[in-house]
């Protein structure tokens, strides 16, 4: 087996993930390289879900019976774990949502309904980038349409990086919010947070960082990032589906208006008027995704026990190896950074003029799961003049042998359509 410096004990880790034993297409063990879409779940997370449902299930808050107290302690305990995982100054800054998309929409809506100085209206601007996931584009397009604000964005360089050369034009005195991804889900690019945050702070704009592709893969410290809001999603980081996180600075969460109304988010309700609970509850209307938060807490424990720095090192090694081996495949062109520096473990490419759908399908027949399409980042495809890409993306359980399987698979694809 190929040995690379920095690899985790993959064999031991893979034992934690039941799905990795899955056999497809008559006897082929799955090679799961679609981790940027969603990750697999360790036994530890599934156990936490089962234990929750079998032993402690109840609705949270305000219950005096023992199950309600246990469920509340587990749910709020998950908040503590997530707060520690991202180094939040306070647990009350951690809001549970259903996914990163809701977290991003939540901020857009807060700002649309906010009072001054936060309010986004027709005199103001919003700044994003051309490499955002649709979930960090469409909420701002909707907000711009509905308020009359102007939407601006950073373009991309030919090698898949943000073009910050016109920083002063994109982020101006009118900008109220700058929202960008820490790591691109399509190209793997890691973006230069500091430069953007500095400019935003200079003009008094708030900063929202989409950490959906960062939280699963590297140490995340919201204080070090210097942003005002950070969003991410549970299912990409070994957690269940149905859970996302929005972290926000406490003063902002106090000042900004609620979004969804309902049970849990109120202080007191009468037919004539209601008052709202303090954050985080103010932003959590209705019965929250209780089991899913508990599952995310278990995922965070799992990742922390291995060590986020070790996971980052592992993925860096795998990415470096994959880039090296992909360079051996004739007619293959990587869309995005072509070195492992400042990039994550998602690698998009095109293979001659074979359509990605065909690449993906023939790889699938060999048991290799990659994603094909525009990866919810169609503007990137438009920018590089391609209809779609094939994307292989790695995680803590990915092995060099899986990279080798991908390379062999691509060889087969070329022969098949050659």
């Amino acid at each position: 087996m190929t040995q690379l410096p920095g690899l985790l004990d993959i064999e031991a880790i893979r034992k934690d993930f039941p799905l990795l034993d899955r056999v497809v297409h008559d006897g082929k063990k799955i090679v799961y390289l679609d981790n940027a879409a969603t990750s697999q779940k360790p036994r530890q997370v599934l156990d936490a879900l089962n234990e929750y449902y079998e032993q402690h299930n109840a609705n949270v808050h305000r219950g005096v019976h023992v199950l309600a107290e246990e469920a509340t302690a587990l749910y709020e305990g998950a908040r503590d774990k997530v707060a520690a995982f991202i180094n939040a100054p306070s647990r009350n800054e951690v809001i549970f949502t259903k996914n990163a998309s809701e977290s991003l929409n939540l901020v857009a809506n807060m700002l649309g309904w906010a009072d001054e100085p936060y309010r986004v209206d027709s005199d103001t601007e919003i700044a994003i980038t051309e490499m955002e996931h649709h979930s960090n584009i469409v909420p701002w397009q909707l907000l711009a349409q509905r308020t009359g604000a102007k939407l601006k964005w950073f373009g991309l360089t030919d090698d898949g990086r943000l073009d910050l050369s016109n920083m002063e034009e994109v982020i101006t005195e009118k900008t109220k919010i700058v929202s960008f991804t820490l790591v691109s889900n399509i190209m793997g690019t890691v973006n230069p947070v500091e430069a953007i945050v500095r400019r935003a702070q200079d003009v008094g704009a708030l900063v929202l960082i989409d950490a959906s592709q960062a939280a699963p893969h590297m140490p995340l410290d919201v204080q070090a990032l210097g942003a005002d809001f950070v969003a991410f999603t549970g299912h990409k980081m070994c957690g269940p589906t149905g859970i996302g996180v929005l972290w926000g600075r406490q003063e902002l969460l106090e000042d900004l208006p609620p979004f969804l109304g309902g049970g849990e988010m109120i202080e007191t309700v009468s037919m004539h008027a209601s008052t709202y609970a303090p954050a985080p509850h103010k932003f959590e209307a209705g019965t929250p995704p209780i089991a899913q938060a508990v599952g995310l807490g278990a995922a965070v424990d799992y990742l922390t026990a291995i060590g986020m720095d070790k996971i980052a090192a592992h993925e860096h090694a795998i990415t470096e190896y994959a880039i090296k081996r992909l360079a051996e495949v004739p007619d293959l062109r990587i869309i995005g950074p072509t070195t492992a520096e400042d990039r994550g473990a998602a690698i998009s490419f095109v293979l001659g003029d074979i359509h990605p759908h065909d690449v993906g399908q023939v790889l699938d027949e060999q048991g290799i799961a990659v994603r094909v399409g525009h990866h919810c980042a169609r503007p990137v495809c438009l920018r590089y003049g391609i209809p779609a890409t094939t994307r292989a993306s790695f995680y803590l359980y990915s092995s060099p042998a899986e990279v080798d399987a991908l390379i062999d698979g691509l060889e087969h694809v070329r022969n098949f359509f050659g």
Binding site: H355, H357, Q361, P387
Partner: protein, 148 residues
Amino acid sequence: MYQELILDHYKHPRGRGLRDGDAEVHHVNPTCGDEITLRVKYDGETLTDVSYEGQGCSISQAGASILNELLVGKELGEARKIQEVFLELMQSKGKIEPDEAMEEVLEDAVAFAGVSKYPARVKCALLSWMAWKDATAQALGDAERKTA
């Protein structure tokens, strides 16, 4: 799903290129970027040509080629029937095993039966067929307007 015949149509498309026609349409599958520009030419009730240009996956491109082979020269009513049977096959989720009657109608296009098991690809297979239907409606509309 990649029958020899599909690959053959993909690698050697029949009747590709844009020629004179009564109507032209441009269809796109936004999820994967498959595109086709397609023209139809009618002589009375007879479909005398389907010409096209496009880019995309093997299934969508082979689909256009086989459509050309199958429909050109047919009477409109017959072409419509073929289209309906093909649509039925593609929407069958792999549950229709083409019988002789179907083979008689669809000829080589029965090779697409396997594609119907792959929901993500059915749209690709149908792209040119939907374009043809649309172009035909336009051509006939125009024809009707002309005769009106």
